[in-house]
Amino acid sequence: MYVRYLVTALVALLLVTSGVFVVDVDPGEGPSVVDFDDTIGMTDLTQAEQRVVRERGIAVPRAEVFYSRYRYVVGHQGLSSLVTELDRDGHERQFGVPLSIYVTDYADAELETGEDGYLRVTGGDTDWVAVENAVFVVDSDARHPGGSAVVPFRDRGAAESFTDRLGGTVVDWEGLSAHPFERSELSADAAERRAADRNAWADAAAADARSLTERPVSVVVGDDAPTLAAAIDQAPANTTVVLPAGEYRDENITVSKPLTIRGAGVNETWVVGDGNGSVLRAFDARVAVTDLSIRGIGQQQARPDIDLDTDAWDAQVLRAYGYAASGIEFDDAGGSYVADVYVDTPTNGVTVRYSDDVVVEDVRVDGETPWRDGFMSTITIHSRMLVQDSTFVGGRDGVYMHLGDGTVVRDNRFADLRFGVHEMYTSETLVANNTATRTRTGVVVMTLPEDNVIASNHVTDSDIGIDVAGRASYVVGNTVVGNEQGLDVGSDRSLFARNTVVGNEVGIRASTLIPTNVVTANDIVGNDRYVSTSLGPVRIWTDDGAGNYWGGAPGVDSDRDGFIDRAFQPTGAVDRYAASSPDAHVLATSPAVQLLRSQEGSLPGLRSSGVVDEAPRVGPVRPDAVAAALNATDSRPTTGVMG
């Protein structure tokens, strides 16, 4: 009789559990708002702007988005990033659709704008409102440091009383979605346009600075004046002081007028400090220093006790870096020029503070080795600087930027440093055509800035080739060869294209939690591992049907469109060995592995850490660069298979 019980039990079990068909299992019914600090941030603001927001108590409208295919809640600070991200190509592929979106509701808050035009909450409370029930004020006078503020309200009355005071128009969610926000365009063309603009600025700045070498000679040290200091004192503005060959051991040389100081050439004319503090200091615009060498610089690095005329958030940074002893120090000296100069320094080489359009070219700075003993070869603080055609060996960082928006660093050589180029709180830069070797990181961008272009650099034998944080940035056409880690994709909404990644231990590391980067048209060949991932979901590294070239990726291109017919998983259990083992090809084409591969590609946002390229290329994007890089790594054991 046991069968009766067995069958009855099974039927009963199935019937009871069938109750799940009448229970609501839909998560889209409105997850409640979570603590904003617990969300994954996507923001309109750079980290520098965020610090201003905190310091001055500025109100920035927020949004929380719950996606159908992404397990984490995304928090937006500022709403333009919300609208532009929802509209981005490939967004839905990675995140699914928003199940619900909540925005800050300012209906019960008292809003004011200060003299700076920034929005502040002076009283009352803010709440959350679902976007479909909200109205938004756009184009008002209210701003936040990241741009014009979009201010949401739960009812039109509150919004209109806001526009009565501060202008703007009231739109609903649909209207906001159609609002023309500035959208970053992640294409190689966009990167090229930006690079061209910045190169044009750099060319003009360089030409302008070179004109300083044409100033008439007024004083020749030794002939017309006994010392350099006396000559500077004596020379009229806008003339040239000539330093014939020899050593000059003046102390505290300070230039406070537009003047050109010209030596007889590197290693001919030596300006030698007393080993205490900076050697040359310029406190007026358009000072030029050319054709000489500098040594005898002091050991002082951080100056924690320095009295700064600022209580800004970055005073700490200035004290730590900006006032270290230096070969040449510019302060409030816009349009100044350093060329054909050699600096041998235990600390900084050339320091530029609050001086836009300073040009440093054909300079060599030798810092300390190991790098821990040295400091910054060149450093720009609150200044737009051009550094080109120079050589930096040893020391901490070749070029350090702190709030150096727009700085251009091109055609330099870096070796044996911590970082070749180190960008902090700095946006809209161009770092191009530099070579870096034996560094911890060739080019590193930190603190979430925006719109930086890192193009055509060449990094070898370093711990990390290029590591870019921030957003809306362009890492294009670089070559990273023989590093422990080639590229670090730590940014969001940025483009990584046409890079040559050859012979590294790890080709590319994907480290951001939120998968919004476009990674396409790169050549990843002969690395011990193609890709490593840590946090975050599965990322799709294919843009508009075009992926990357993964050396050794198996498969055929039956329709001859240049792309292998199957997806490639550089982090997959089998594909990761594609370059090193032909046997992996055989296993990879088995139905079982194909089944697994199709699993990874579906619902990528709900899976854990991996990379899928849906359209791997048949051949490299830059075959010559790959071949050259492979030649360069001949001494290393490579595992890549070409073509």
Binding site: F21, D26, G28, R607, S608
Partner: protein, 332 residues
């Protein structure tokens, strides 16, 4: 009718005994569970909905395979071993016999499918990677309910396919025919019908409007449609209309009922002529016995459990040709 129910459970018990005693079935069950669990682990176990998405295709293929393995000899073996001839002499209706065979095999298959998938689902909370504790996550990866729906739909799908296989086993009564027919059903159900639909679509034979109802006629498409509509829907945030859900349910029900009716109608309706020849070579009473069984069919319900219950007690493995001994004997 109580008597018929007793008959039914007698057959069910016999079937379950056969399943339990046949090592091949046990091995198949273990293999099925192993493959499903391995696929579940390989799918990274980040949530219930991704797991459903990953298991959907394997289940579409593995469940018919399982049904064929467990069902294709269910009735054919009885026919081949002449047990069917003996059973026919018992006062048991063909529909009771067919239903009993189906319920018996289904009890094994459905339990296996249900429990295997349920356990695979438990892997998610047990072995899944923990969500980043610093960052708020939400229900986008689906509650357990969405997964349970999938498990139940897979169980229903298993029942439907098993019924089809039992029907085939009934119609194809010779050994080679049975396996050929079973493989045919497998191919038809897993790819054949869908390929046919693709061909029909591409030639313009059917438009996309008619697709919904034609899909419902293919059991695996109906199962897939229901899974997408009722389980994975929670991440797609798009809903298949109710008519599609209903069409799929009706489609599956038609396959289930239709298969069993076909089996019940064909199991004894057309006795193979060779059976008569065999009976004739025995004693002269064979003919009479056969006829009496036919005429007694349905008329001797009161004594129905007599022979079956009796044979249950001497269940042994004397030999497959002995009516009593064949009861619950393992299939080769």
């Amino acid at each position: 009718m109580n008597g018929e129910l007793d008959d039914l459970f007698a057959v069910v018990e016999r079937e379950l005994t056969i399943v339990a005693r046949t090592p091949a079935y046990v091995a198949t069950a273990v293999g099925f569970a192993a493959v499903v669990w391995w696929l579940a682990v390989a799918s990274s176990l980040t949530g219930y909905v991704p797991l459903v998405a990953d298991l959907l295709t394997p289940v579409e293929v593995l469940v018919p395979l399982l049904a064929v393995a467990f069902g294709y000899r269910a009735i054919q073996a009885d026919a081949a071993s002449k047990e069917l001839d003996v059973l026919r002499t018992y006062p048991i209706r063909p529909r009771t016999y067919v239903l009993g065979v189906f319920v018996g095999r289904a009890t094994a298959v459905l339990s296996l499918v249900f429990l295997t998938l349920l356990v695979a689902g438990l892997f998610v909370p047990l072995f899944g990677p923990p969500a980043n504790p610093v960052i708020a996550s939400h229900g986008g990866d689906g509650p357990f309910g969405t997964y349970l729906r999938f498990v139940l739909l897979a169980t229903l799908y298993a029942a439907v396919v098993l019924a089809a296989v039992v029907a085939v086993s009934t119609v194809a009564t010779r050994g080679r025919t049975a396996i050929t027919a079973a493989v045919g059903v497998l191919v038809l159900l897993t790819v054949g019908l869908d390929l046919g639909l693709v061909a029909a679509l591409s030639t313009g034979l059917v438009g996309p409007d008619g697709l919904r109802y034609l899909l419902a006629l293919s059991p695996n498409s109906a199962f897939r449609g229901l899974t997408l509509a009722l389980s994975i829907r929670t991440v797609e945030a798009t809903t298949l209309p109710l008519s599609a859900v209903l069409a799929n349910v009706v489609g599956l029900a038609l396959w289930l009922v239709g298969s069993l009716v076909l089996a019940a109608l064909s199991v004894w309706s057309e006795p193979p002529t060779e059976r008569w020849r065999v009976v004739e070579t025995l004693a002269g009473t064979g003919d009479a016995a056969g006829q009496s069984a036919v005429s007694d069919d349905g008329a001797t319900e009161s004594t129905a459990d007599g022979p079956v219950e009796a044979s249950d007690e001497d269940a042994s493995e004397d030999g497959p040709t002995s009516p009593g001994g064949a009861e619950g004997a393992p299939e080769d």
